[in-house]
């Protein structure tokens, strides 16, 4: 064969260019003239400009690319089993996957559903293929994550909690925040939810902590499966970020949209921070056994991904289009991360509530203390005694930490907006909306409920905006219940009908595992219901007392 002649050169023939292909595909749409297209989900935005598709992809190349990605993922899962991954995996880590993987498939499939909402709203068809790909991508993510969870269930030492996963998702007090996240993608104003909340903020900013930071920590704990699946998932996100930005650009040129965009960027950023940082921050910092002081803490990762990558290079440039960026909120979120112990307080709350979880949380130990103090100076003074109490009270027969008056922990109010409890006590606020009292973790969450999710925004009618609904305070559902009965009702009991699914330790021995009988006799209560019963004066005093916070009692 002559030099330079290759098989590719022999078989090559002229084909349609990528630009021509995308132009032809975009020309498949038309404006109906016989019948108007169906009503779709409403928006208060005006979309006059057709969004452009910067990615220029067609389904012909998309499907083989995705199949190839899948082949790598499933091959890696097989290899992990052949390599006996579970023999060396850290159970502390895998236990938190029971929570994380219970939550994430529903937000993923909600993102698929939301493509219906933006697909028809956006004029022109250029971005249609991008939305269609995202729809199928999200179907991929949801089911590939269900598959990963099943794989853990089949191969990890303690499958309890994985086995009830979607039932647990609907019932657990911790998964509530994941439901707020997912419903936020598909309910209310279609642009607010499917464009700003989902693609512009959740996918562009927070998938980096979800799908990049967390897999790194998984690998440090001997779990090679999660990085394999989630980095493959993340490789789809760049296309979604492109879709979101493109639609945003078609909105931002119309000054009429600026007021709503400012509202939605503020709401979406704050709520994403409140939800994602609570959950992922806790899992990354407290679900790990790796205490390498050279690795980045969650706060450092946040600074890299959210502050530098998102805020400085994505959000700030939006100001040139004339919209005001909520700089103060970004600073406030950062302060919550590094000065106000947001992640640590969340981990404390999750662990206090262990009896009504469906996964195990073991105590942090001296080795962990050392790392936390190094990364978060002052941590030990604030949380050291708490985790020692937690360890001490992890043996069946002890009074569970949730009800143990010796510890000094004060059960928190729930934030009506982000659904995370009001853990930073000094920021606690309450307000009246439509004649009813509500509690919030922060001023911005109060604003979100009262001002943003309303029929009018700064004098402008917003008929498409959603409303908060349902029994949003989880504690209301079991107000006055014996905790053992509540656990049975939740379904968080193992197959013997007695042993709890959650345990405050990682001991896989029946003799050392908590049973319903160890908890019976204590009652759950709703902080909000009690708060609402107070007179205005008593309520004011209660707020002042709450803002003072509490002090964990020293432990001998």
């Amino acid at each position: 064969m002559p030099d330079g002649l290759t098989l590719n050169k022999i078989v090559a023939q002229r084909g349609i260019s990528i630009g021509e292909a995308t132009r032809r595909v975009a020309d498949l749409g038309w404006t109906p003239s016989y019948v108007q297209e169906a009503m779709t989900f409403p928006t208060d935005y005006k979309i006059k400009k057709s969004p452009r598709d910067p990615m220029k992809q067609v389904l012909r190349s998309y499907f083989p690319m995705q199949e190839e990605k899948d082949n790598r993922v499933y091959g890696a899962l097989d290899a992990a089993l052949r390599g006996d991954m579970f023999r060396n995996v850290e159970p502390r880590w895998v236990e938190w996957m029971k929570l994380f993987l219970a939550i994430i498939p529903f937000p993923e499939i909600s993102a698929a559903r939301s493509m219906a909402m933006v697909g028809r709203l956006a004029p022109g068809e250029e971005l249609r293929t991008g939305f269609a790909m995202q729809m199928v991508d999200e179907f991929r993510h949801s089911t590939i994550q269900m598959n990963l969870k099943k794989w853990y269930m089949e191969n990890y030492i303690d499958p309890a909690g994985f086995d009830i996963t979607e039932a647990a998702f609907g019932r657990c007090y911790a998964t509530t925040i994941g439901r707020q996240f997912a419903e936020g993608f598909v309910t209310g104003d279609a642009i607010t939810s499917a464009n700003v909340y989902l693609t512009v903020v959740a996918e562009t900013a927070f998938t980096n902590t979800l799908f990049v930071a967390m897999p790194s920590e998984a690998a440090r704990n001997g779990d090679y499966a999660l990085p394999t699946v989630f980095l493959s998932v993340q490789s789809d996100e760049s296309r979604h970020i492109g879709n979101g930005h493109s639609l945003l650009m078609s909105l931002i040129n119309d000054p009429d949209n600026h007021q709503l965009l400012e509202r939605d960027l503020k709401y979406a950023f704050w709520q994403n921070h409140a939800i994602v940082d609570a959950a992922v921050g806790t899992i990354v910092e407290y679900g790990t056994t790796n205490r390498d002081k050279n690795k980045e803490s969650y706060a450092e990762l946040w600074h890299r991904w959210i502050y530098e990558d998102y805020y400085r290079t994505y959000m700030l440039p939006l100001e040139k289009y004339g919209i005001k960026i909520h700089h103060d909120d970004v600073a406030a979120a950062w302060d919550r991360m590094v000065k106000k112990n947001y992640v640590h307080l969340t981990a404390q709350f999750f662990s206090v509530g262990w009896p009504v979880n469906f996964w195990r949380i073991e105590a942090q130990t001296e080795r962990d203390f050392e790392w936390f103090e190094h990364k978060y100076p002052g941590w030990y003074a604030e949380f050291g005694d708490y985790w020692k109490w937690y360890a001490k009270l992890s043996t069946p027969g002890e009074k569970a930490i949730l009800f143990n008056g010796d510890v000094g922990y004060v059960y928190p109010h729930r934030c009506w907006s982000c659904m995370v409890p009001c853990l930073i006590r000094e920021d606690f606020v309450c307000d009246e909306v439509d004649g009813q009292i509500y509690t919030y973790c922060s001023e911005i969450c109060r604003w979100t409920h009262k001002t943003a999710f309303a029929a009018e925004y700064e004098g402008r009618p917003t008929p498409a905006m959603g409303r908060f609904s349902g029994r949003r305070e989880w504690e209301t559902c079991y107000d006055g219940w014996d905790v053992a009965d509540a656990i049975k009702d939740l379904g968080f009991v193992r197959s013997d009908g007695e042993t709890l699914m959650p345990q405050p330790h990682l001991i896989f021995d029946d003799k050392k595992m908590w049973k319903l009988e160890h908890l019976r006799g204590d009652k759950l209560g709703s902080p909000l219901q009690n708060f609402r019963k107070l007179t205005p004066e008593a309520r004011e005093a209660a707020v002042a007392e709450y803002r003072k916070g509490f002090k964990i009692n020293p432990i001998n």
Binding site: F41, F86, I109, K150, M153, G470, R472
Partner: protein, 358 residues
């Protein structure tokens, strides 16, 4: 000593025996068969429901109080929406495998056909048919793809929505398959006008019935009406009529072996979409509480969309006269389409005579 000081030696299944250590199946739903399928494990209950495990109910609503998912988004009613399982059992891996296989098959057929110089040997009259009418028909496929993309937001369970989602994915892919196929053979055929198809779609009287039928489906506000009208009515009466009854039968006689292969992919897609559709609507017709009312609604939808689709089919008749070598008759194709509709509706549980007569 606290309980946390005990070492853990292995995180592998079977390393210890304790309560729940053998609970290695998703146990929160009843499988349709004796054992849960992988598809069921990937799909069931991912979209929650206050009637099942959603303790706190939906926590965001639309301004009028409509919750995130709402049974009233269709006129049809079910005693248990969660009973439905997609017959094709698709989850992400099987979907990509199938779509990728199709795309690969099409690429091979088109590339090798073009390499052999086949498009230049297509009969001239047939080239015009491809340009004008296959070029027009691709828009019908796109309309169904966008319509089902819209519909997949509204279903009350994950199983229903995912079946509609994969339907949309297949339709959008096929609309693009035709677009790119025509774009590629246009490189080999002098004077092939790639804009002609859309002009015929928008202006040619032959296609206006089809466009009206498609726009009516796109305009339906009931997502199950869209799904029903797509797969039960339009596909057999117009889609298959044109794809199988015309392109696949005529092409070979015009020296074209590529087009039937391209179009055959859509026929395979439709068999799967149809199976899912029949399963869902027969479940709703057999519903002990709501079956009769549901059947009436389906009959009404069948009448509305059937009349439009039949009219559309009849308007396509002149196309059968356009190829130089005539190996298929419109009347035969239409009769086959009607028989197909009769079989589908009988399977679901209502009579097609209301739509197409005896």
């Amino acid at each position: 000593m606290s309980a946390t000081q005990e070492p853990v030696k292995s995180g592998a299944a079977g390393a210890a025996v304790f309560a729940g250590s053998d609970s290695r199946k998703y146990n929160y739903y009843d499988p349709k068969g004796r054992k849960a399928t992988h598809y069921e494990d990937m799909t069931v209950d991912v979209q929650p429901d206050p009637k099942r495990y959603l303790l706190q109910d939906w926590i965001i609503s639309f301004a009028d109080g409509t919750p995130t998912y709402y049974e009233g988004w269709t006129q049809l009613k079910s005693s248990d929406w969660h009973k439905f399982r997609a017959v094709d059992q698709e989850w992400e891996r099987t979907h990509y495998q199938r779509q990728s296989t199709i795309v690969g098959m099409l690429k091979n057929v088109i590339d090798n056909g073009r390499r052999s110089g086949a498009p230049a040997r297509f009969d001239k009259a047939w080239v015009k048919v491809l340009q004008d009418h296959v070029g027009a028909y691709k828009h019908a496929e796109f309309g169904l793809g966008t319509s089902t993309m819209q519909a997949q937001r509204y279903g009350y369970t994950q199983m229903i929505n995912n079946a509609i989602l994969t339907n949309s994915s297949y339709k959008l892919r096929f609309a693009q398959d035709l677009t790119l196929y025509l774009g590629e053979i246009a490189l080999d055929i002098d004077g092939f006008d790639l804009d002609a198809g859309k002009t015929h779609w928008l202006e040619d009287p032959i296609w206006q019935g089809t466009r009206k039928s498609i726009e009516t489906i796109m305009g339906a506000n009931d997502y199950l009406e869209q799904y029903f009208a797509t797969n039960v009515i339009f596909e057999p009466l117009v889609g298959e009529l044109f794809r199988s009854g015309f392109v696949m039968q005529m092409a070979a006689a015009q020296n074209d072996f590529i087009s039937p292969a391209v179009v055959s992919a859509a026929e395979g897609d439709y068999e799967r979409n149809l199976a899912n559709t029949v399963e869902l609507f027969s479940m709703l017709v057999q519903d002990q509480q709501h079956g009769e009312k549901n059947r009436q609604i389906l009959v009404n939808w069948a009448q509305t969309h059937g009349a439009l689709a039949l009219e559309a089919a009849k308007q396509l008749q002149p196309i059968w006269s356009q190829p130089r070598v005539k190996v298929a008759q419109f009347a035969d194709a239409l009769e086959q389409a009607k028989n197909r509709l009769r079989a589908i509706t009988a399977e679901i549980g209502f009579d097609a005579r209301a739509v197409i007569g005896g």
